[in-house]
């Protein structure tokens, strides 16, 4: 494990402990009240969800063009994080929607496309687990199509008249709302980097172990 990992993990742990305090101190939003605070978890996890999908797609392109197994391991790790952060996004979203829109789920473009992006990542993991030999390349192809979905998810709220808040909300936030949001976003980003590193490290050890088995077999 790299030298930076442990200090970064400690920092991330501290930030995770501080974030709820900052969120609790942020002022109540006038119309939504307490429920609005879900936004400090929902938005950062959604950003990291899309970021993981992009990391997975880019690593897959590099794996397809170069064939370096390192990129394949990164893609696999990122796909698992798409599932994790996607789950957080898709659970916190309806919790907020129940209060804001009166329903848990709507077949809105952004909701639908996010759900599909999440399902592509699950399909990716199913493929890697049960696909057998050759599933690494096939997975890379799948990840590419999954990444093509990301810009669609992002712009969907601005092009369709949907009920989901648009991407213009964030730049207009006052500092009292913006500070806990950005703090939370950095925490999630750090958590993403750490989890990715940890997961890639696990795959590296597995690859080393496989190589050792091969040596002893010969």
């Amino acid at each position: 494990m790299q030298k930076w990992f442990t200090p970064a993990a400690v920092v991330c742990g501290l930030m995770l402990a501080v974030a709820p305090l900052l969120i609790a101190q942020a002022p109540y939003e006038s119309t939504m009240g307490l429920v609005q605070k879900i936004f400090y978890v929902h938005l950062p996890s959604a950003w990291v969800f899309l970021l993981s999908a992009i990391v997975c797609g880019v690593a897959s392109i590099r794996y397809l063009s170069g064939g370096n197994p390192r990129h394949d391991r990164t893609a696999w790790a990122a796909a698992e994080l798409v599932v994790l952060f996607g789950a957080i996004t898709l659970i916190t979203g309806p919790l907020w929607a129940r209060k804001a829109w009166g329903v848990w789920w709507l077949w809105d473009v952004r909701l639908t496309s996010s759900l599909m992006g999440w399902m592509v990542a699950i399909a990716y993991m199913l493929l890697r687990k049960y696909g057998g030999p050759g599933s690494d390349k096939l997975g890379a192809g799948l990840a590419l199509f999954g990444m093509a979905n990301v810009p669609f998810i992002y712009i969907s709220v601005n092009y369709w008249r949907t009920i989901h808040p648009t991407t213009n909300v964030v730049p207009t936030l006052p500092t009292s709302f913006g500070l806990p949001l950005w703090f939370s976003a950095v925490t999630f980003l750090l958590m993403f980097v750490l989890l990715l590193r940890l997961r890639v490290g696990l795959e590296e050890q597995r690859a080393r172990l496989d190589a050792l088995y091969l040596v002893t077999d010969e």
Binding site: L64, T112, I122, L127, G131, K137, L138, F145, A148
Partner: protein, 225 residues
């Protein structure tokens, strides 16, 4: 050269299929069974649910398409002909396009029977505007088959490929199915709004371009051992 290889692959698939008609018959029977199951499930007191026809048509196309994709490549695998095809001194994208056109032709053939059947069973005026419907069906089928051909070809060597094909295919092609269903549903309205249909057709064309480009681009590295 490219067009010639496409034509040769297409003709080969067509000749093999015409000799047995295995995929055409089984797929068609399966698609018709699908529509009938929906009819039994949804038609109550002799009345079809409003707006159900478009969805049922596209579900039947998606299910039948998955079956056809799986069988087409299973046949290549059983007789080890996919390797021969890939060993041939031909551009991989041309092989892909040949395969894709074969699947699209097969599905369009199935749609020619499915559309009147759904129109009949669900009392939907599907054939009132055949031109629009043809555009929607061709674009939707192309988008679905573009991803399907790529994945089915790649899954030939994978374990549990029969299960994995729909698992991978449906989440990716959902946008195409949604656009197809919405466009067809808009077509069934008493007063057709051309701007709504135009919007969904444009979206279908967009997805077709993205999917075909990505598939052409990835077919070569993915089919190389």
């Amino acid at each position: 050269m490219f067009a010639r290889i496409v034509w040769l692959v297409l003709r080969k698939d067509f000749t093999v299929e015409v000799r047995s008609l295995e995929i055409a018959y089984t797929m068609l029977f399966f698609a018709v069974s699908c529509v009938l199951i929906f009819a039994f499930a949804l038609v109550q007191e002799g009345r079809a649910p409003e707006g159900g026809a478009a969805g049922i048509l596209w579900i039947a196309i998606a299910f039948a398409g998955t079956l056809a994709l799986g069988r087409t490549f299973e046949r290549e695998r059983q007789s080890e002909t996919l390797r021969a095809l890939l060993l041939a001194p031909a551009a991989r994208p041309a092989i892909y396009v040949g395969k894709l056109l074969g699947i699209v032709a097969l599905l369009i053939g199935a749609e020619m029977i499915l559309v009147p059947l759904v129109a009949l069973l669900f009392q939907a005026p599907l054939l009132a505007r055949p031109g629009w419907l043809a555009i929607i069906l061709v674009l939707g089928t192309l988008g679905f088959a573009a991803v399907g051909t790529l994945f089915a070809a790649m899954l030939v060597r994978a374990r549990s490929r029969d299960v994995l094909l729909p698992v991978l295919l449906y989440p990716i092609t959902v946008p195409v199915i949604i656009a197809g269903v919405r466009a067809t549903a808009a077509l069934l309205q008493p007063e057709v709004d051309a701007s709504i249909i135009g919007f969904w057709i444009a979206l279908l064309a967009c997805f077709d371009v993205v999917f075909v480009t990505l598939a052409l681009w990835t077919f070569e590295p993915l089919m190389t051992d």
